[in-house]
Symmetry: C2
Subunit: 182 residues, 2 copies
């Protein structure tokens, strides 16, 4: 149940926010490790209100369509803190990768096709690694606005950067292993 907790976390950082803005914040931050469709976000906000984690009020606007602004309740805040402290260290027991599943069965598809796939993967890993260095710079620039959180945001981007280096190393080795095969 992480989408709800992601939304709780964003509402806790940003204060009262609309579904529309949460959707944008989500896509600019959490989307690196958790994706959600706008319609799903709106639906979860409704459920979270039912559960008492949020309250909302309708705000009438003249220049733009009316909107609904959500705020985190004390119950929601305690749910967030509770979730943060509950242990859920997943490493090999929780992560899903359809990419690795393809590699697992790639003997059926053949060596050439797999090498092609691995080369594409490698290019993406390199490019995304560069992107994540940029992300870290952008986060550093926000240090004065969100002093409590920027260190942790940077840690997630650093995780991505190091993972991309690992993905690059792995794909290079994997290509070599396949090419060396008779």
């Amino acid at each position: 149940m992480s989408l709800k907790h992601g939304l709780l976390g964003l509402l806790n950082c940003e204060g009262p926010t609309t579904g529309y803005d949460l959707d944008k914040f989500f896509k600019n931050s959490l989307a690196h490790f958790w994706q959600a469709k706008s319609s799903h976000i709106y639906r979860e906000l409704g459920k979270m209100e039912d559960e008492g984690w949020l309250t909302s009020e309708r705000v009438l606007q003249e220049e733009k369509p009316n909107k609904r602004v959500y705020s985190i309740t004390p119950l929601g805040k305690s749910e967030l803190l509770n979730w943060l402290s509950s242990p859920d260290i997943s490493l090999g027991g929780g992560a899903k990768s359809s990419f690795l599943m393809r590699i697992f069965f790639a003997g059926e598809a053949g060596k050439e096709q797999t090498i092609k796939l691995l080369k594409e993967y490698r290019e993406r890993a390199i490019a995304y690694g560069h992107e994540l260095i940029e992300v870290q710079n952008m986060i550093a620039a926000e240090a004065n606005i969100y002093p409590k959180h920027t260190t942790y945001w940077r840690l997630t981007a650093l995780h991505g950067e190091i993972s991309c280096k690992a993905a690059t190393e792995w794909s290079t080795k994997a290509i070599a292993i396949l090419e060396e095969e008779q």
Copy 2:
């Protein structure tokens, strides 16, 4: 839609198999990067038969309960090959990590709690990395039984091993960054 394709792949490797055995194979192989409950596996097998990817027949046994044996059809095989060649290189756009989401919001929980979490994560990464070296040895021992696939199975375990090294490196750095903070 990877559970179905994982089952297709296993059936293609092993030949006609029961849901019970597929469940065991799954938990000994694909479970490193894709988890599924037994009940889910049985349900998907039924749907795959409806789609014409599999056929099944009831086998009566005397020493054990009767069973249903599934076989991949030509349609299922072509679906497998088609899936293998369809591009789906996910890196940063598809993977979900509730662990990274926790880190992202960990400023709310505090430095000490986060360092504790990171140390546990680091221990698991080290231990799982060792386990995956063992897995590679076990796969190598099966090279004569499954000559077409062992190279690829090994590549997935190598991916895990390198990812664990990256996770270890990251958590070490992350702990240092938090401890250096005033």
